[in-house]
Subunit: 373 residues, 4 copies
């Protein structure tokens, strides 16, 4: 069975990578009205605002609301099958919540934050479009079992701490430890090592209890942090693997590699996006990595006239082979997507793949005569 | 010697996994009276409560206490050999502690938290039944040596900090630094970076000392957190290995694997439980993993009529081989236990096991003609 | 070249492990006068103490001081060549510092903490004898380069934060931000996320600055914690490797292993010390590890009369091979040192070492007829 | 293709390592005027300073400013092509900012921190020359994508927390929660678990919100810390690999190694710099590592006259082979650069490289006759 990991990319070279960039621009444009709206909400919360400014900002909010209403109607008319539940829900809430707040304000006369505050719901649009949020949401889903376990343990520790603090401190400080819910407030402020200082145990036993709670808090914190940090690192590694897997296909050199070897290379490579004009490496610098061009072109300026290299080419291998400093300055001639390979993984690659070593050697020799990199 | 890792599971396929789920339901049912009792304890701690409500809540506590007394007597009559020390102790305490508190209150007239507060001991039942607690307890036992070392170091640092703070600040602030125990309170609040603000050094030297203590606190915190987080991650990995090892036996494809290869696969696979009706993967999505069915059935909806797949079947491999998006939507036809394999580990599996690659290729070809996944 | 990793241990089986235990007992006995002395120092710091108690505690301190003086003289007379610089220095300080404080008090009449407070220097004896401290000290030495780098970065960030806070807040709050040293106090309290609350920026810009400082603090914290936690984990792994390497030599089964294979096993094994009478595994439990006896004897109680196993024997392999629950309860017949091997590493061991697999199979078969474990 | 990783170092043995040390000394000399200047700035910020001292310190600042002006002019005259953008910018700012502050003070009469405070900009010189800063800057650049993601998520969570806190608490506490920016101050102080205590929610719902914010804060903290700590560890590992790769070339023994094997050794070795006279290992100690000399000489003192070993020699292998304690004390006869190899990696090295094992065995035998190490 021949695995062809490249077929996806042959059709649309670098598509997911490009799509990601396109999505970023789209996100930024979509974020503009949200940002404007949220700034208006923040400014409107200031008490001593002039009526004129207040009216103007209300106008801005109304305009953005109308924009969102229009978008929602457009989506509904298109009957877009791609519109998913959660996405649609946020769009719906963005229109309905401010409207409901307006109606409630007009009906009751009470000022429940008012319609302007209700526009804060638009922040959910930002959250929905944030790739980091989606990443973190996946981590939370993957680690749900462990997180819920640690959370329930946290809840039990919190309850025990509050119960004991209430038993110990209630007579001395009825104002702050007079009931278990009050003691629980102290417990969570202490367990998270926030320490506002509004509730502090006074008795000797209460203080020893507080010390134990602080140490437990660090422990719960550590478990919580360990689960999240590990899960996040793994999820990032997976995402990078899938992305790199596709980028690698644009480099002909790697097509000779076997599947297992390829997995190693894909893990070792780091993608790098550079704008046109950026310097990739500078003549005279020490070199600890080599580069493979996925998309775009670079300009190599050594002693002679600059040479251009395009997609699939590689450079920077001379510094890794000879240990000499870079012999040329390389700049991005256009928007550039590179894969970089560190010295350490370069050595492993060469050892395990004599054909690739041969290809690189030939290229290096050829260049060595004219334009060593 | 032929290792037969599957024999345990052949007899009771997925037993530990199912048992875990059953244990969860059992735990939730057992947790109900505890939760009710603890809510009553919390509410009863509120000072301004009407007598009626107070009597009602006392009644609830009495009923739960009777229930626990009944359970304890039943256990004693059964002479259950499985009843272990720690478990029985908690059940005993749940009955005796409130009773003792009631007797003490009646005898002395003093209100030592009263019998209602003593019912807070029921939280230990929650703690005992929490799988997270058992996991954390195992981590603490495994790492006891290092944790005790760091704790003792923490104690020594605490003492030194308190001694120096007392020497430096006692004349300026006799109220808060007037004795070493008082200075120790400041030291622990600072070392854990809680910082209530009730004791703050005023002198120049005292503040430099405080800065050093804060930095040491971060260091102790780091060691503490590092030990706990690493130990927890290792314990979870071990538990998952044993669980996966049993689940893998339900997938015929993996029976061909050698022992070492199997260890690699068992480590790479992630179990996933889904309720009936849940979507496993959606047509058109990019695919970065394939699935193996351990228990339950899935319904595969591509262009034609839905096809069902049962235990031992696998799907989702097409997206990994061809790089094309998912060609079908797969939903759980019943409660489902899956094993998922990520792209990266899929490549390694295929390279090292030509027979498995052949089986998967044949299945993929067969499907490619009719219902590619 | 034949590497003989066992020669050291053949001479003194389990010596370093036993020595460690002996050292622990010795440490505890040596810690007794220190603990007594420090408790006396703490109690003496309380202001409202009766003269009798004060005299009694002073007497205790004097006696301990005399003890230390005697020990010091004994060491000097022996001309012990093993007495190292740092160790001797602590012993010297333990005698000289309290004496100097007494002389200073008598000479000047001023109460510089008094001689009793100076006895707090004895805590250094505890610190010197703490294995955790030595471990942490080694980590600090190993990572000195990185720690100093992060510390200097921390210092620079602290200075910048203080400078900006002083520039922004000094007019509004001359009491708390009136000079750069004062602002630096705020900066360190904020950067370590302690947050006493005695100095809080009031201006808008000051608060944005504070937010940035808090986030930087978390970053510095993260670097600090990452370096320490990683270095500690590595140092513990190294110590365990050297310890396990020696314990492994007591198990004849492992003598057949090649050097590389041995390194893998030594890394996978976890030592466990148990007191006489402790239960190693219980009949009916699920088994995820097997055991090798290094020192001591176990009693195996299945259906028949209990069987004893001694050093070099192994048990618990049946549960890993057949997947069935434990068929016997094993208790420690004496103080016991075990090596445990987890299921996962057991599979790798068997695959790579057919001879060991054969030995284990034969033992298992033999037992299978009579006393399966 | 023959990879020659040593060619770089053959020309300039240990160059980068030495250069680093030279750079350190250079940095310290360059840091002197900065340190002096910053101390002057700090002291000048104290309100109650005598006019004489103030004038003297102003004089110091003026002198340092003149020095920097001179350096800048010298750089400009040399037209140094190595002067890079960021470096030059800092040198420019060091001259222009204080000058501008002086002009502004003279022109407006207003005291905007004054020229002396503006000299605080010199701290940027320290930051620019700090290797830790460059390391951290590289980590930030590498992880920019993830860090920005987590930061934006942090911003969104902050906004949501502030919005809700404002909605809940504004009526009860108009002083501290009267507008969204004010509530945002509370939110950041709580999310970073700093907890000044100047703004504390009073209502029940507000306190539950605060608890959730604290837990989220720990989560954001964990992600932030995880990304930074992992990225830092990786960057350090890469830097060490490149440094070690060059040091290894000075040890003839390793020239026989294949490329893949060499990568393993380079990863396992730890460089260690020692001053002349330092003790490398002590007779009678347990030995868990062996040493390779890169630069400098050691003096080996066993029973006979001391023997000297120079670059390329190795020692300490006896303790690893025989398991016996060190048989000689080794001290640095000159400034020394060593590579240390831990027991565990020593075993792997021997197993995989019979020729190296043979060389080490012969050396050990030879020494065993006279001066075993």
């Amino acid at each position: 069975m021949k695995v062809r990991p490249f077929s996806r990319v042959s059709a649309t070279p670098g598509a997911p990578h490009g799509a990601q960039a396109g999505g970023l621009t789209g996100t930024l444009i979509g974020a503009l009205p949200v940002a404007l709206g949220l700034v208006a909400v923040v400014v409107l919360s200031e008490p001593g605002l002039s009526t004129t400014l207040r009216l103007a900002l209300d106008g801005v909010l109304t305009m953005i609301w109308c924009l969102y209403l229009g978008q929602l109607i457009a989506t509904a008319l298109r009957r877009d099958p791609d519109a998913k539940g959660a996405m649609l829900l946020v769009d719906l809430a963005a229109v309905i919540v401010p409207l409901a707040a307006l109606v409630a304000t007009l009906a009751t006369g009470a000022d429940l934050g008012g319609p302007s505050l209700a526009c804060g719901v638009w922040v959910l649009k930002l959250l929905r479009d944030s790739t980091a949020f989606r990443l973190v949401a996946r981590v939370l889903a993957n680690e749900a079992h462990n997180l819920i376990g640690v959370m329930s343990l946290f809840g039990i520790v919190l309850f025990i701490a509050a119960l004991l603090a209430y038993a110990v401190e209630r007579d001395a400080q009825p104002q702050t430890f007079g009931s278990i819910p009050q003691a629980m407030w102290w417990a969570i402020v202490t367990l998270s090592t926030t320490g506002y200082g509004d509730a502090v145990p006074q008795s000797f036993i209460g203080r020893i209890l507080a010390g134990v709670v602080m140490m437990s808090g660090i422990g719960v914190f550590a478990l919580w942090a360990g689960i999240l940090a590990t899960g996040f690192a793994e999820e990032v590694r997976r995402r990078d693997f899938v992305n790199n897997w596709q980028l690698v296909s644009a480099v002909p050199l790697f097509r000779q590699l076997g599947s297992a070897e390829l997995v190693g290379i894909v893990r070792a490579l780091k993608p790098r996006d550079l704008p046109a004009g950026a310097v990739v490496c500078r003549k005279g610098d020490a070199g600890d990595q080599m580069f493979f061009i996925v998309e775009g072109r670079v300009s190599v300026a050594a002693t002679g006239a600059p040479v251009e290299l395009g997609p699939g080419a590689f450079f920077g291998e001379m510094a890794l082979i000879s240990g000499a400093p870079r012999t040329a300055t390389v700049t991005a001639a256009s928007a550039l997507t590179l894969l970089t390979l560190h010295a350490q993984d370069f050595q492993i690659l060469l050892t395990n793949n004599p054909e690739i070593a041969e290809t690189i050697r030939k290229t290096a020799l050829q260049r060595g005569g004219a334009e060593p990199l």
